[in-house]
């Protein structure tokens, strides 16, 4: 980690305070350290990709950011406030990996309920249905929709309140290429309008669509940079290749560190 980010990483061309600051974050679940001494900064109005193999701690990091994860150390500040602060509940949208909507309600009934909870105007429902491309399916029961359609209902619910920070856990899984392309266009247009997006994926080809990348492995951030800079530094042609190179490098560092005598063990 020391090799790749000297000092606190700041997004290029952005002097504004970070939308998200994670400092020394530690999460232990069931006796296993899931996140270890994590540092992350995300500039406002950007699309950041959180990439890494499944089980590396992406979801735990996202849950910590939206304030539903018990943490065991460190600090997470979102839009200048501690994660989970009541004032953030209007400003942060979270889409879980498994669609979290009511299967026994129609698309419109789901969105009406979440709009009421968020205090969003009724007009927001038609807007988000359009944004996720579910026009004409409003009256369908969610249980009768396909997996990809359900995921989009779940995404639509998060867009209702027009949040300043959107945390999306694998939002494009199971979607066809056309739809994925359209959703990424949506994500960028949201960022252009000022929102900050953190999007996890384990599909490396989505990385090139992000302005900034966080590569994660075994509870640590092993790279925090722009896609272009990552490719340049590793000499790789694709992000997947770069990721493999970084993993090999991180393993090498870990081995060297393990060989050295332990010092300052907290």
């Amino acid at each position: 980690m020391i090799n790749y980010s000297a000092g606190p990483p700041t997004a290029p061309g952005s002097a504004a305070a970070p939308a998200l600051e994670v400092r020394d974050l530690r999460v232990v679940r069931g006796g296993r350290t899931v996140l270890d001494d994590l540092h992350v900064d995300i500039a406002p109005g950007t699309v950041t990709g959180l990439l890494g193999p499944s089980g590396c701690g992406k979801t735990t990091l996202m849950r910590s950011i939206v304030g539903v994860q018990k943490t065991d150390g460190g600090e997470v500040r979102v839009l200048g406030r501690p994660a989970g602060h009541p004032s953030l509940r209007h400003r942060v949208g979270y889409v879980t990996q498994a669609p979290s909507v009511y299967a026994d309600l129609s698309v419109a009934e789901n969105l009406q309920y979440f709009a009421a909870v968020l205090g969003a105007p009724r007009s927001a429902i038609a807007r988000v249905v359009g944004q996720v491309g579910l026009e004409g399916r409003e009256r369908d029961l969610v249980a009768r929709l396909s997996g990809g359609q359900r995921a989009r209902v779940s995404l639509a619910a998060a867009l209702l309140g027009a949040p300043d920070l959107l945390v999306l856990d694998e939002p494009t899984v199971g979607l066809d290429p056309v739809l994925r392309h359209e959703l990424w266009e949506l994500f960028h247009s949201l960022a252009d309008a000022g929102a900050t997006l953190l999007i996890s994926s384990h599909v490396m080809d989505e990385a090139s669509r992000c302005q900034h990348l966080l590569l994660m492995r075994e509870g640590r951030i092993i790279a925090d940079d722009t896609p272009a800079a990552l490719l340049a530094r590793t000499g790789a042609r694709e992000i997947e290749e770069a990721f493999l190179a970084l993993v090999a490098g991180a393993d090498q560092t870990a081995k060297t560190a393990a060989a050295e005598p332990v010092k300052g063990n907290r």
Partner: protein, 268 residues
């Protein structure tokens, strides 16, 4: 697919600023109740079961004791309260468990929804159902089944609704401790049946062993049954019925408050 983001961001802060917190809270509670009722409306078989099952059981009770009508007169009123309580307990605990396992609970807890808003929304929705259920069972028991009560019948109805509400509230509370459907279903025999045995329906509470009597004294179901028994036997309204009703209502309120407190926004 439209990308109407300009209106998206400008609508946010405006919409997110409710005028009065209390009013916003009421709006969210009512929206939750409406959502729960809409879910039920999509599931007509559950509604039918909820409304019909207590009635069928009461009819069975009447004809099982056909040879000894005084038994129905003695147990009909208490069971008019207990059957809805059991049914509402089951349905509520499963409904909230489903909210948990579907991930919607976690989503709601990241949103500006107070925990009490959620719990009260559920209580309101199932409370309305309990009202409907009590009305049907009440009409059946006092009409065709010919249950004789000495006290005012409207009060019998009030107690029956109170019992349904108590079942809902207890279901909401215990569902916080159930991680799986298997556990949730087990809470019925674990939590309700002991109360059922000790409530005075099988043996008068006065003649129980002291320890059992003490346990019986702290169980809300005992007061639900006491109220019903008093209404069956005594003419007019004694202050004790009021006390029993207060205990039932208080227990329901306590269970709802505990249900809200035991909900955790942050989990491991």
């Amino acid at each position: 697919m439209s990308t109407n983001v300009v209106s998206a961001t400008s609508a946010g802060p405006l919409a997110a600023a409710p005028h009065s917190p209390l009013r916003a809270s009421a709006v969210r509670t009512l929206a939750t109740a409406r959502r729960v009722l809409t879910q039920l409306r999509h599931d007509p078989r559950t509604i039918a079961l909820l409304l019909v099952v207590p009635c069928v059981l009461l009819v069975l009770l009447k004809y099982v004791f056909d040879g000894a009508p005084q038994v129905f007169d003695r147990t009909g009123a208490p069971l008019l309260g207990i059957f809805p309580l059991i049914v509402m307990f089951l349905v509520t605990s499963v409904a909230t468990l489903r909210e948990r396992s579907s991930g919607t609970l976690e989503r709601l807890l990241t949103m500006p929804l107070a925990k009490l808003d959620l719990v009260l929304g559920y209580a309101l929705a199932f409370g309305l159902l309990a009202l409907l259920q009590a009305a049907i069972a009440f009409g059946l028991t006092l009409g065709p089944l010919g249950l004789h009560v000495s006290g005012p019948t409207w009060l019998l109805f009030v107690v029956a609704v109170g019992d349904g509400l108590l079942g809902t509230a207890m279901g909401l509370f215990v569902s916080a401790f159930a991680a799986t459907e298997f556990q949730a279903v087990q809470f019925l025999p674990a939590f309700i049946l002991p109360q059922f045995l000790l409530c005075g329906l099988f043996t008068p509470r006065e003649s129980m062993a002291t320890v059992l009597r003490w346990i019986s004294d702290v169980m809300p179901l005992s007061y639900a049954v006491d109220a019903m028994t008093r209404l069956t036997r005594e003419q007019g309204v004694s202050g004790l019925v009021g006390r029993d009703l207060a205990v039932v209502g208080g227990s329901a309120a306590l269970a709802l408050a505990l249900g809200a407190v035991t909900l955790r926004r942050r989990t491991a």
